[in-house]
């Protein structure tokens, strides 16, 4: 796998992880809001 393909793959993995993490954070905050 060459340069741009490798960098694209790494970027996509980081981006996917970030979106999943933020979505999880969103759910946790919603749970906190419901607790009140």
């Amino acid at each position: 796998m060459g340069g741009p393909e490798w960098v694209t793959a790494v970027n996509l993995i980081i981006w996917t992880g970030l979106v999943l993490w933020i979505s999880r954070l969103d759910r946790k905050i919603r749970d906190l809001e419901r607790e009140r």
Binding site: W15, V19, L25, I29, R36
Partner: protein, 221 residues
Amino acid sequence: MKRLLALSLWLWMAVVIWAAFHWAPLAAGFKGESSRILFFHVPVAWVSFVAFMTAGVESVLYLAGRRDPRHDRSAAAAVELGQVFAVLATVTGAIWARIMWGSYWNWDPRQSAIVVTMLYYAAYLALRQAIADGPSRARLSAAYAVLGLVVSPFLYFVLPRLGFSLHPEPVINAAGKLEVESRMLAVLTASSLGFTVLFYWLHALRRRLGAVAARRDEGVE
């Protein structure tokens, strides 16, 4: 609905990432593939500016309105995120500078300007830490962030153009003309839009978390 928005943003930026590395052409005068970093460096720098402006506008709303603490929390959240995006802009810019100019740091006017901006808003956060939670903290920090509505545009757009700079011409050059290849401009615009939506998503989360913490504190007191 939120899940759909998150999925749309994920897909949008996934396409941007692919386009940045495979569809957009390389910019003339840049070493190797280094111009591709600009599809991420310029948008994060732009978003840091949007964040600081958001903080300023929220602070105006706080001072001009009924001193609603939600505006105060919103301004603080915007500054925190603005700092994160400013650090990202600095790091991506430094990586690019190493490739193009041979050194991570060159005290170029744009590099210096973003450091001064980060120091300015670090002082905002320090100010908030120095005063106990309450109306006086909100009022003072709002006044400081309103001043940022003048300071930030000056540091982002005026100061870097005053003297000699190693930095490439901005997207809109000194003559006010767009001189970017159409595919590069499309990726740059799409990336800026995606990062802006990401910022407002994170901003909403931080505001909501701040509101939960504030309600909890009220309950304790």
